[in-house]
Amino acid sequence: MTGSSSRRSRARERRARDSASWRGPLRRYDILKEATIAIVVVTILTVVLAVLFSSPDVPPVTLRAWASAQPKGFTEIALSELNGTSDSATYGPPYNHQSGSVTDLYGISIQRAIGVTDPIDPAKDFVLDPLSTVSGQPALTAALHRYDTATHAQQMSWLATYARVLKRASVESGKLSVQKARYGPVGELLGAFLSMARSGGLDAALVEHSAFYTTNYTDAILFIGDSWKAQHGASYWGKIVTAQKMASDQWGVMNETGSYPGQPWLWLYTMWYQIGPMSTSSNGDIEVLAIMTVCSLALLFVPFIPGIRDIPRWIPVHRLIWRDYYRGQRHGGGPTGGHDPPRLQ
């Protein structure tokens, strides 16, 4: 018999033994009692943990709070929505046809293949539409009309001029002071937009799809998120995020606010973002997703993967788990004698 056929034969025998029924010693077991005790123990443990530690609840960031705390930073992001340079405006599918955040793996992009399914026009959806809901302000209505009827080139020219003077803008007593220049209606628009945000009106206006019942916060979160993408830790949101150790380079999503445990089971997923090449790759998201898909499938199909399924035999942790059984095997005889009918121990 050759070595390989002998190995195959041994593996077949092992598989057959693994499938065999058990005729060894038994012991009494009350399945319902075990379940009841487990439920009581876990309930008590949960109550004790809840009483001792409570649970975290840091309020969400509002546009009102952001605009009040950082009027200049807020206006910069609003301007980037209008001139199409924000992260949302350049994102790509599923929001628009740009390519700023489109990822691919070896040239294949699922993101691009599926295309735009949730169309978002940040200039219109985040800024101009909310402003159009404001009534009783003739200057704003006129500015909106002038902006809407201008050519794209004219709009870009106004926005570029405003961007230049905004860099030198100052904040006095919480108010944004911007130097006068040839920026057309943009000054009026962004001034009104800032006022709307500081009043809290923008928080409601950005929650879309219904004038009354609302459950979709995509626009509001993307708009706030654009500040993180553009200004990082200096943004209002970014300061809270980094203070809470929740940024992507701080093992982000698996963490929780305060000192609470978050989602530690996401450690492997989060880890890939911290190491190269994914940590610096523009395709990091799809690369990590691909790795995690492979890892998950590998875990699922462990029973069929030679090598991985043999690890428990090579590293005998099972010797520790079943130490009593193996000890009985070594000593032989006793209640474990295989020729007797199985007995309760």
Binding site: S21, R23, R28, T46, A50, S55, D285, S296, P341, P342
Partner: protein, 349 residues
Amino acid sequence: MTASIVNMNAPDHYLHWSFILISLANFLVIVAMVVLFIAAITVPFVHSRRAKREAGDLSTSASHRSEPEADPSQAGADLRPSGKQADGGLWTARLRRLWLRRLPPDKLLPDSQPAYVASWIYVFGVLTLAGLLVAIVSGMVLALEGPIWWHVSTVGHFVNSLHMWSVECFLGFMAIHLWGKFWMASWRGKRALTWMTGVLAFLVSVFEAFTGYLSQTNFDSQWIAFESKDAMNAGGIGAFFNAMNFGQTLMLHIVFVPLVLVAIVALHILMVRLRGVAHPIDADPEHLGDVGSTAADKTARDGTIAVPVRSATAGNVTAGNVTAGKVTATPTARPAALPTGPGSSELGI
């Protein structure tokens, strides 16, 4: 608004008698219900002769079942030829027979287990189930008052704390259970499906917890929604699942994913009961029965069901068989396979 063939959006006609005021649409629905009720109790039932004949067969069968020797075991009763004839091709009866062959009551709710199931690692399966139960119950209480309640109520916050810590326990116990099962190579002996349903339950639980974090309506959910969208979009998942759509994440968290998770966990437990837990690696061959044969396989082959029979004198468990409704103890030197099979009496998943 979706177009309809008949436009029902115009104001309805109302019928008014004395103090009764009812829309024509509501009136027609009630009339239809009354008509259906009258029809249901008056129209002759189809196949009434066949139904009568089958009813006669069943009553004959029932009189057989009342005989003392025909009811020693629930498992055996349905295997009798008369039962089969009476059942004919009924789906319910066939499913019941299959269920009882594969998973007789003593195997579903055992009172003994292999002696090697004696490590604390085995406890983490049932602890995981307990964690899931506490998470479901605390989540149901949270759902009663809506997603904002816990932000504005002390009681609500406490219930949220229970929910959060039960989830931490649930997933923590589940991970430990998974590690244990890996090092025991618990997929051995036709138990691959048990392993795979367990892994699937773990992965679905991670997604369930993720949707829970997205549904908190606080800073955490806001940030996680924004950060996770890039990975979702990169994989094309963002086209179907928008982490920033609170309505979608909440519905997934409290309806869809829990149903899927409970179904997978139920299947996993069923597999544990059916196949049992793997016996020790390199177990003593003297402790193993027919190679390649579990109790269920044996039953499927020869129509017998192995059940444990407690000896009146010693209290030991020996093996016995149920064949055609009769129990026969077999105190032989090499007993037939026990229903506890290869360690099948562990509830742990």
